[in-house]
Amino acid sequence: MALVNPNFAAELEAFGVDTALECFNCGTCAAICPLLYEHFPRKLIRYVQVGAEKKIMENAQDLWRCLHCGLCTRTCPRQANPGELILGLRRYVVARWRRP
């Protein structure tokens, strides 16, 4: 069981993540991502959408697998900007590490 934070997506806007709710979870990003790793980045975007803040922190290390190659952003049918979203999540996690 995980606690959810309904304001999580809104809180992430301060870190440049403002397109998370555009995503309709089609999985194009996970299909094109060169990592071929556990539905990355789709799974993490889903955590943001449902407010699973704790899950993001538990899986924080996975954010740094992203190569920032931009293929997911280029092919996203909803312009949800998955690559920038992952980058924004890194900023959020770094800020949490520095100021818990």
Partner: protein, 315 residues
């Protein structure tokens, strides 16, 4: 995979201390210009801004060789103490890194910058260089998510450029180009006229001397983010050189894995092997235009050279 926090803290501490990711004075490795004829600044001319990327490659490779051995071992956790290397005398890590890199390796990458200067001059481009105006862009801090560190460093670089009255900038690598063209205006509010060197080249040579075709590996930032993949193709056409398109090129180019190098050399190797297979399928020698891609593809044993080196041989 290393703990990203250890890597970020180490790089952020180094950038704060020395304005580059290695924690050593930039003068120690930014030496390529010493063998070049004097650069004289004339009004309105553009600053050649290398972002210290090509010069740094031998040091990045030396560091990565050690990280490769550490990854997954019981010593990996000790990396968290590396950030305290700032308490060592500045010359010590510098001497250590210099010791780990060969003179030939340094000259290979310095030579690319020297060739770029020669190509720009031959194309009639007015430019100058001054090592005290040339800084690392901070792009790794941005990529790793240290926004605070990146913005502080970007403001420092911008202050310095403004102080010297620089308006026009010529860049040599995709990462620095992206930082100066897209990120600096967004996060510092300052805009410069930024142009990658290959868009300014006006070269001509006859028929490529019967040379076979080359395969182009487009770096992600030129191909996708900045949509500049036509530039290198135009240079090759001007020189009468043939090229072949590989699977996944231009806007849909495949990453070489280089960005993963600092947090996971193993992941880097996995992505690299896949891209190398795509490039090898073309059967042609590879040309690229990013120092990170170049070093990474060389590491895989691929026949690859920089666009500037190739163009330099024909004019």
């Amino acid at each position: 995979m290393f703990n990203p926090r250890d890597i970020i803290d180490l790089i952020a501490a180094n950038v704060r201390q020395s304005r580059n990711p290695f924690g050593v004075p930039s003068t120690r490795f930014n030496t390529w210009w010493r063998k070049m004829p004097g650069f004289t600044r004339r009004p309105g001319e553009a600053l050649l801004f290398t972002g210290l990327m090509y010069q740094a490659i031998p040091y990045i490779e030396a560091t990565t060789r050690y990280l490769e051995r550490l990854e997954g071992s019981r010593w990996a956790d000790y990396l968290r103490w590396a950030r305290f290397s700032r308490y060592l005398p500045g010359s010590l890590p510098g001497r250590g890194l210099s010791f780990l890199t060969s003179r030939a390796e340094k000259q290979k990458f310095n030579g690319i910058l020297q060739t770029i200067c020669r190509l720009l001059t031959k194309s009639g481009v007015g430019f100058f260089y001054h090592p005290e105006m040339d800084f690392y862009s901070g792009i790794l801090l941005y990529d790793l998510g240290d926004q605070e560190g990146f913005e502080e460093h970007a403001r420092f670089v911008v202050r310095n450029l403004k102080l010297h009255g620089v308006h026009k900038i010529i860049t040599v690598d995709p990462h620095t180009t992206y930082a100066l063209k897209e990120l600096y205006p967004k996060y510092t509010g300052e805009t410069f006229e930024v142009q990658p060197y290959f868009t300014l080249l006006r070269l001509s040579a006859g028929g490529g001397n019967g040379q076979g075709p080359v395969a182009i590996h487009d770096p992600c930032f030129y191909g996708r983010y900045l949509q500049l993949s036509e530039g290198p193709r135009q240079v090759l056409r001007d020189l009468g050189l043939k090229y072949v398109e590989v699977r996944n090129s231009g806007e849909f180019t495949s990453c070489c894995g280089g960005p993963a190098e600092s947090v996971s050399p193993a992941l880097n190797r996995e992505i690299l092997d896949r891209r190398v297979a795509e490039l090898k399928a073309s059967g042609a020698p590879v040309v690229t235009l990013c120092p990170i891609c170049l070093a990474n593809l060389l590491k895989a044993g691929l026949a690859v050279e920089d666009l500037a080196s190739l163009a330099g041989r024909y004019c």
